[in-house]
Amino acid sequence: MSLGARRAVSAYAFLALPVAFFVAIRILPAAQALFISLHRWDIVSAERPFVGAANFREIASDPRFWQAAGNTLRYVLTGIPAQLILGLGIAILLRRVARFRGFFRALYFIPFVTPIVAASWVWQWMYSPSFGPLNRMFEAAGLPAQAFLRRPSQALYAVAAMVVWEYVGFQVVIFLAGLEAIPRVFYEAAEVDGAAGWRLFRHITLPLLNPTLVFSAVYGTIVYLQLFTQVLNMTFGDQGGPLGSTLTVVLYVYIQGFQRFRMGPAAAATVALFAAILVITLAQLRFFSRQVEY
C-alpha cells in the first residue's frame, strides 16, 4: 500500500465514529423530522399515513401557533436591541476606566454561566407582585405596583429582561474584543482632523465594529428564536401564560409534541423554525462574503 493510501485509511478510521454519530444523531433525525411533519404520527397508533401538508395547514390555522410566532418575534425585536445597546454601552464604559476592568467584565459575565433553570426561578420570585423586591422598590420610589409575569401586557417583557440580563455579559466580552481589534491609527488620524467624542464613535467605531454587530445580532436572533427554558420555568404553573402572552415557538412544540403527543403538528412547527434559522444563516453568510477588509 502506498504512503498516501495508508494515510487515507487512517483518515477514514479516525472519522468513522464521529461521522457515524453526525449521521445517526443529526442528519437522519433531521430527515425524520421532515418525514414526521408530512405524516399523521401519534405515539400510540402504529398506523402513520401520509397526510401531505395537513400538519402545516393545521398549525397555520391554529391561533396559538401564530401567537407563539408573534411572541417569538417580539422577544427578538425587544431583546436583541436592548442587549446590543447595553452591551456596547458597557464595553465602551469599560474601555474608559483604568482599574477594575477585569473585575467588572467578570461581574457582568456571571449570569451567562449561571444555570438557566435556577436563574429563571429566582427571577420569577423577584417578579412576585406582593412579595418580590421589585415592587418594594417601586413602592419606595412612589411608583404603582406592577403585575409583571401576571399581566399579559407585561409578562413577555419581564421574561425578555431576564434573558437580556443573562446574555449582556457575553455581549460585552464580544464587543470588547471587537473594539480592541480596531486599529488605533484610525482614531489618531481622526483626532488630527479635529474629530472627537460622538463623531469618533459615529464615524469610526460604529462602521468598523459593523461585522461584530452583525455577528452579534445574528447569533442573538438564533438564540432568541429558540427561547424555551426561561419561559417554561418563569411561567411554570401556566406554561407560556398568562393567556399565552409569553408562549414561544419551541414551547408550543413542547406542549404539542410531549404533552398532547401530537407529533405531526409539533414536527411541522420545528420545520418552520428550521426554515427561519436557515434563512437568517444564509443571509449572514451573504453579508460576510461581501465584506471587504479595511
Binding site: S10, Q32, A33, I110, P115, I116, G237, L273
Partner: protein
Amino acid sequence: MTARAAAGAPAVRAAAGRIPLPRRAGGDALAYLALAAGGVLVVFPFLWMLATSLKGPREIFELHFWPQAPTLENFRQVLTATQFPRWILNSAAVAVITTGSVAFFDSLAGYTLTKLRFPGRNVIFVVILSTLMIPTEMLVIPWYTMSVRFGWIDTYWGIMFPGLTSAFGVFLMRQFMTGIPDELLDAGRIDGVSEFGLFTRIALPLVRPALAALCIFTFLGNWNAFLWPLIVIQTPAMRTLPVGIALFSGEAGSAWHLIMAASTLAVLPVLAVFIVLQRQIIEGVVLTGLRN
C-alpha cells in the same frame, strides 16, 4: 489606563488597538459610577436568592430584605427531602462523559479534516458543518421516537447520546489545527510516529487553549441542558440538576425559601468554578466566539 488595559487580551492586539479617549477625571468617575450601578443590578438577583434561601417559611413574606434569623434549615430540607445529591451526580456524570467525548472525537475529526489528505475530505467537512444549522428542537421528536424504539428512555445513554459530538467543536478544532505546520508532522513521521501518535503527541498539545475553551463550553452546555433531558427523563432518580430543580420547584408551590435554597445549591458550585477559571472562560469566549 495601561496595565489593566492589556489584561486578558493578547498584548499585541491590546497595544495596537486601545482607543485614546480624552481622559477627564470627571468622565471616568461617571463611568465608574455607571458600571458599579449596572454591576449591582446584575448581582441583585443572586443576593435576593441567597437572602430568601436563609429565611424561614414565614419570613419570606415579610418586608425586610435580609433574614433576621438566618437559618440553614432550608438547605437541609432540600438535600434530604429530594434526591438533590443524586441529581448533582447525574449532571456531573453526563457533563463529564459528553465533554470527554466531544474533546476527543471533535479534535480527532478536526485534525483529520485539515491535516490528512484523502478523497471526500471536503464533502465530509461540509456535511458536518451543515448540521450546525439544524436546531436541537427539530431533533428532539426523532430522538424521542428513536429512544422509545431502542429502550433509551430514562437511561444515562438516552440523556447524553445527543451531546457526544458537536459540529461546532469539529469546526473550531479544525480551524486551530490548520495552523500546525506540516513539517512538524512530517518530522514525526520520519521518526516513526504512528498517524494516531501524531495527533495525540504533536497536534493536541499545540491546540491546548482552544481545546480547553471547547471543554469548558461543552461542560457548561451539558450541565445546563434542559429541553432534551426534560423529555427523556421519567423517574426522579434519573433527573439531572436542571430538570430536578424545575420539577421540584414546580411542586413546591409557594415554598420560595426551599426553591431559593435549591437554586443556591445549583448556582454556588458554578460560581466557584467561574471565580477560579474566569480568565480562561472569558478568553475562551473571545477565542471561540470570534472564530464563528
